[in-house]
């Protein structure tokens, strides 16, 4: 029988494909928000016996990863009225094809690795790897600075998804610190994005290539 966790994780895998094919920023933000929500509720289903603190922490994570972070990026778009295309370096069709290859590879690799602790959840490791690599893909294959920040957030979600399964040992206070760092990082990136827009009147990173040797 399929575990409920696997059902939502299969949606995450689909969302990776969607993000590769998506040409507009608001769609991409929605996808990242969805992935953030999934990454933060997965610990609920993986039974480690939740304490009250654990439940509160999960909700805080949900609020930050699923709502505050995507909203702050959306707010940047609204505020500076940036052109809403992601300006691909690699085309959408080629990107989707890469995405498919990535999902297959991620599934294959996690079968090979065969980690005992999470062997009950078939899709957990593939989904995490897929998120991680697709975040990096967006960082490299899109010229729009906002799409790059979204790629970074996607990567962080992927790492959180892996981390959450082994983090029984890590105290919530530590995880909270990590969350705070990620949040502050995204906020600072949002401020830089606004300044980039003000200075260059665009967020195309091709404009950011004057410093070189």
């Amino acid at each position: 029988m399929m575990h409920p966790v696997d059902t939502i994780l299969s949606l995450v895998l689909l969302s990776v494909l969607f993000s590769f094919g998506s040409s507009r920023l608001p769609g991409l933000i929605l996808v990242v928000g969805f992935q953030g929500i999934v990454a933060s509720i997965v610990p609920f289903f993986i039974g480690h016996g939740m304490s009250a603190g654990g439940v509160i922490f999960t909700f805080v994570t949900l609020a930050v990863r699923g709502i505050i972070i995507p909203m702050s990026i959306y707010w940047v778009i609204k505020k500076v009225a940036i052109r809403r295309e992601v300006e691909p370096i690699i085309g959408y069709h080629a990107s989707i094809f890469c995405g498919l290859g990535l999902i297959v590879a991620a599934t294959f690799i996690s079968r090979q690795l065969n980690i005992p602790t999470i062997s009950d959840y078939t899709l957990l490791f593939p989904a995490a790897i897929a998120l991680l690599v697709s975040g990096m893909f967006l960082l490299m294959a899109r010229r729009n600075a906002i799409a790059m920040v979204l790629g970074y957030i996607m990567m962080e979600n992927g790492i959180y998804l892996i981390g959450t399964t082994f983090s029984v040992r890590a105290r919530h206070i530590v995880e909270f610190g990590i969350l705070l760092d990620v949040l502050a990082g995204v906020m600072i990136m949002a401020i830089i994005l606004q300044n980039i827009k003000q200075t260059f009147d665009d967020v195309d990173t091709a404009l950011l290539r004057t410093l070189k040797d």
């Binding site: 980690i115 005992p116 602790t117 991680l132 990096m136 960082l139 600075a145 790059m148 920040v149 970074y152 990567m155 962080e156 790492i159 892996i162 981390g163 082994f166 983090s167 040992r169 890590a170 530590v174 995880e175 610190g177 990590i178 705070l180 760092d181 990620v182 502050a184 990082g185 600072i188 990136m189 830089i192 300044n195 980039i196 200075t199 260059f200 950011l208 290539r209 004057t210 410093l211 040797d213």
Partner: protein, 479 residues
């Protein structure tokens, strides 16, 4: 007690954001002085942390802490003069960020928990980002963007590496706290496959922040665009903080008997960085970028020495301390040059020897020190590393190492000669000298260089013992 050392600057840093201009500068120097005293007390007493398991006083951490503290104090004295001479908008943000940057770096040196260490490193990126954007120009914006994005992505890799180390703990079925010291003790029981994977990711992650090639691309931009006191901090101590993460993980690898694996990778990354620096330094036409590439070179040397093991590790730690002292003095001098000539390009400077004699002495002595001339400490460090490389049979690597150092020296010397002795051609703007060399803007450099000089002839016993304690944990030592 341990926590006070980073909490004090944390609080004063936040306060400094809201202070008027005149008071901010005093707070900066005051915090530097208090921090230096606290660090010295910590060095002498070595107390247990209140949050045991998250923070701890380790020999390698103490070494970095003392360097940070001394450098910050001297740099803050310099900054007083620098801020008077240059026009910086929103000075309170600059000063607040400087102090918060000090706080986060201190936290790095005292962290023991691997996740807390990660949090502290990421916090250093966030605290230093406003420093790079101080001049509010489009170039500095570009540098800040690259710095924040590349470093955040890089450090995310290190987080993944830390998670993988947790996994090796899980698979190895060991139940200990997630601290570097506890992990080192049980290293042999950890799952070797995942430990290796964790090390690779941590090396790539913290290596990005440390400036190892090919992940170094943010470094020259950030160092050249930041105001000189901030560049001095970035180069002198931030890079060491990132190295500390690699050092501590290498320690776990050594205890697990996997130091061959991690050492080889360190040697490879080290050589790559030295080669990359040699390529770019030869045709460099901006002096601050030249210093930045020299930092990449020195980080390469440190990684190389750590990877070789034995006596070379001792050399690497010596190099780390002296690089901090000398490179920060060079960056401070470059601040004087920038204020004096109003330009970052080497061909728009010249004749420094008669125009700015005091800065010239500091800059030229710094150049001699960083190129590995005796009587400065880097000479000893590099000598130990080369001896170590020959002893362990790394003949080819040692050959590449020595050859690259020669190239770097040639490139560096060429540019320094131009700055110092070439005729100064007045630019189109007709700019003349804008700086009288005030004592506060040359003495910090002299003190840094003299400290390096002194440590070459006389190392206090307690310092020597701490270095030896740090390096024996990864198989180093003077034998």
């Amino acid at each position: 007690m341990v926590e006070i050392v980073f909490l004090t600057p944390f609080i004063t840093g936040i306060v400094a954001f809201f202070l008027p201009k005149a008071m901010g500068r005093q707070v900066l120097v005051g915090t530097g002085a208090i921090h230096l005293i606290l660090s010295l007390l910590l060095w002498m007493n070595r107390p247990e942390a209140i949050l045991n398991g998250y923070f701890a006083v380790t020999p390698e951490g103490l070494l970095s802490l003392l360097v940070i503290s001394l450098l910050f104090f001297l740099i803050s004295v310099y900054t007083m003069g620098y801020l008077k001479a240059s026009e910086i908008q929103s000075e309170n943000i600059f000063i607040g960020s400087m102090i918060l940057f000090l706080s986060t770096m201190t936290m790095v040196t005292l962290s023991d928990h691997i996740m807390v260490f990660w949090i502290a490193i990421e916090a250093t990126t966030l605290a230093s980002a406003p420093l790079i954007y101080t001049h509010r120009s489009s170039a500095s914006l570009e540098a800040t963007w690259k710095y924040v994005l590349i470093c955040s992505v890089g450090i995310a890799m290190a987080l993944l590496g830390s998670v993988l180390i947790t996994l090796s703990l899980e698979i190895g079925n060991v139940d200990v706290p997630l601290s570097f010291s506890a992990l080192t003790q049980v290293a042999a029981k950890l799952d070797p496959l995942w430990l290796k994977a964790g090390f690779v990711f941590i090396l790539v992650g913290y290596g990005t922040k440390m400036g190892l090639a090919p992940m170094h691309t943010w470094l020259p931009d950030a160092h050249s665009e930041a105001p000189s006191p901030a560049s001095a901090l970035l180069s002198g101590v931030l890079l060491n903080c990132a190295y500390l993460g690699i050092f501590k993980t290498h320690k776990i690898m050594y205890a697990a008997g996997l130091s061959d694996f991690s050492g080889t990778i360190l040697v490879a990354f080290g050589l790559m960085s030295i080669l990359a620096a040699a390529t770019f330094i030869l045709k460099q036409n901006e002096y601050k970028r030249m210093l930045a590439y020299s930092s990449i070179e020195n980080m390469g040397i440190i990684a190389f020495g750590t990877g070789i093991g034995g006596i070379a590790v001792y050399g690497a730690v010596i190099c780390m301390i002296h690089h901090s002292l000398i490179k920060s003095s060079l960056f401070l001098s470059s601040g004087n040059i920038l204020l004096g000539y109003g330009d970052r390009m080497i061909h728009r400077t010249g004749d420094m020897v008669s125009r700015m004699p005091k800065t010239f002495v500091a800059f030229f002595a710094g150049f001699a020190g960083i190129s590995g001339f005796p009587p400065f400490g880097i000479f000893i460090g590099e000598l130990f590393i080369i001896v170590g490389a020959f002893r362990t049979g790394h003949y080819i690597a040692a050959g590449i190492f020595i050859l690259s150092l020669c190239f770097i020296f040639a490139g560096f010397a060429n540019q320094v000669m131009k700055i110092s002795f070439d005729d100064f051609k007045q630019g189109d703007s007709g700019k003349t000298m804008g700086l009288t060399e005030k004592a506060g803007m040359v003495w910090p450099q002299y003190i840094l260089l003299l400290t390096s000089l002194m440590l070459c002839f006389f190392i206090p016993d307690t310092l020597y013992q701490t270095i030896v304690d740090a390096v024996t944990a990864i198989g180093g030592g003077l034998k």
